[in-house]
């Protein structure tokens, strides 16, 4: 009995000590990964001031690490493959589970939008079904106030069949993050002006980022990419033209808590991607294949409504 009492006393004191010291250890201690995760999470919360009071912008940038500015992308040539089979692979890690879909023919990948994206989005699977697609992943971002956005109000550019569905009225000098395909099936990722996209003959694409691999080089070499751990979606392309759709599940303790941007980059790199970029993640992350959602979207209500998807026709 006395022993139990002593152990209980020890645990209580330990917890008290832990509670009192943990803010100092986390924010000023030697554990960089914990510090980066906590600082990143607070900055994205409703109370970012707790961090901006404590650290200067330079210090925050240093803690979070970052992504190299994407260099000018060199477009590579490949012989277009016409293999119609899609290969699905499962990804397992101690922290996340996900799926990678290989699409040999890049010209099968198109952008599709929700039926009425000015009013509300549609789920990835609804967008795929409306367009008779075999496969689809969620694509571009949208204004998502308080995390309750309805998938309407996308931002940046949306291009389908060479036409600007969003950004038609923008000036040629307007620059946005962009992920899309040109006439030859090359995946483009990085910051592009509207004029550049027009001159490159871009056929399909949306606005999101950042680019993870450019010209075969990893863009994140320090830290986790600054976005913490969560459900993620990414797109990439090998030198033979094969397009890779990557979806990682997260926010589901016991199953998957999620991946960092650096995780995405490493998976894409190991799978031979020469160019790769991050797409909208979180509750939006969805991979649809052959009539069903393959992954497990993070939200309690299942798939989220989104404005745009990359589909495979």
């Amino acid at each position: 009995m006395k022993k139990y009492k002593e152990v209980a006393k020890f645990v209580v004191v330990l917890l008290l000590f832990f509670t009192v010291t943990s803010p100092f250890v986390v924010l000023f201690g030697p554990f960089d990964n914990i510090k980066r995760t906590v600082v990143g999470a607070i900055l994205k919360s409703r109370h970012p001031q707790y961090i901006t009071w404590l650290f200067s912008q330079d210090e925050i940038d240093k803690i979070l690490g970052g992504i190299s500015t994407a260099p000018k992308q060199e477009l590579f040539k490949f012989k277009n493959r016409t293999d119609s089979t899609l290969k699905l692979q499962k990804i397992d890690s101690s922290r996340f589970k996900g799926f990678l879909l290989e699409i040999p023919d890049p010209k099968r990948v198109k952008v599709a939008t929700a039926e009425n994206m000015e009013e509300k989005g549609d789920t990835t699977s609804d967008i795929a079904k409306q367009n008779n697609a075999v496969a689809a992943i969620n694509a571009g971002g949208f204004y998502d106030a308080n995390g309750t956005g309805t998938g309407r109000s996308p931002y940046g550019f949306i291009i389908h069949n060479g036409k600007f569905l969003l950004g038609a009225d923008s000036s040629d000098s307007e620059v946005n993050e962009f992920i899309g395909f040109n006439k030859d099936g090359n995946l483009l990722a990085g910051n592009y002006s509207k004029g550049e996209l027009i001159s490159m003959g871009v056929q399909e694409g949306i606005s999101f980022g950042p680019a993870l691999i450019v010209n075969g080089q990893k863009m994140i070499t320090n830290g986790d990419g600054g976005w913490g751990v969560g459900p993620r979606t990414a797109i990439g392309q090998r030198k033979d033209g094969t397009v890779l759709f990557l979806v990682i599940d997260g926010r589901q303790p016991g199953y998957a808590i999620g991946a960092t941007l650096r995780d995405l980059q490493n998976i894409m790199y190991e799978q031979g991607a020469y160019i790769a970029a991050n797409l909208d993640g979180g509750s939006s992350s969805t991979l649809f294949l052959n009539g069903e959602v393959v992954n497990k979207p993070a939200d309690l209500l299942g798939e989220r409504m989104i404005p745009t998807a990359f589909i495979v026709k």
Partner: protein
Amino acid sequence: MKLGKVLLTFAIGIAIQLGVYFYLDRVLFAPTSDFQIGSTSQQEAAGFGAEPTGQSYYSFDKRFMATILEDQVNIYEAGKKGEPQHVSLHGRKVSFFEWLPDRDLAIFASYGKDSKTGRFGVYIAQYNPLYPDHELDTPIEDAPRDSKITDAAYSTATNVVYMKLEVGKDQYRIYRTDANYDTRRIRVQAENIGRIAVFYDQDIFFYDNLRTGVVYMFKGSDSSWRTISPSGKFRLIGIDGQEIFIAEMNKEDNVIAAYRGRLGVGFKKIATYSTPEEFSKITLNSMHEASDKADNTKK
């Protein structure tokens, strides 16, 4: 001797803390995680088994059927043989179950003591019969003992879920969760609450106060609220798109009239009941009929 013991305890405490920090830093929050890539086949669903017992609920496309006993949920798939899927409840009981209207996904609420820990808990959970191998749920952190969720209203466009938690006889609380699993109690202007509803595409929640007969709206984005029912005694019937249906009650708590309205526009009477109706008989479907009748009369 005593100093030695204190120092040893301190050293063990520091070692435990270092272990925790080390695990968090090097494993859980590491910038990258080792991964393996392997082939996969899309998952097979479980099959149809013994004759089901309990209350049955069908998914929107009738592909799945759930049978609910108090402490047991079985999921059957049409046309499949074999054992049904058994939803793990951890010894808790089911207090609410509903298939989503547009997808093979159910949300359900459970309450009671966990069979392993013995701790009382209230949970709202998702069940995906296509991928039944893991749970997705969120607890109501400060739920009083023996409380349970008896109703939920959700918006698939905004991903918010509002829950009605019964904490005693005619005593309810409202909780809200969203895509970030930010689950918290919402302070409302009622204790005895009737039906609840939420707009399909906006984080706007509706409820009524059964004691005073007032219907309210609550805006999740800024936590503002206001009364929406006209003067008199009213109950919320439900929401269809942007249209709100409420019922006017008499002193005996029976329905004497039904109204249709919109936020910022107001309510119009669409039906009068010369013989007062029981509220339980007034459904959204009956409101559709009443609306059509009222619209045709206008023409």
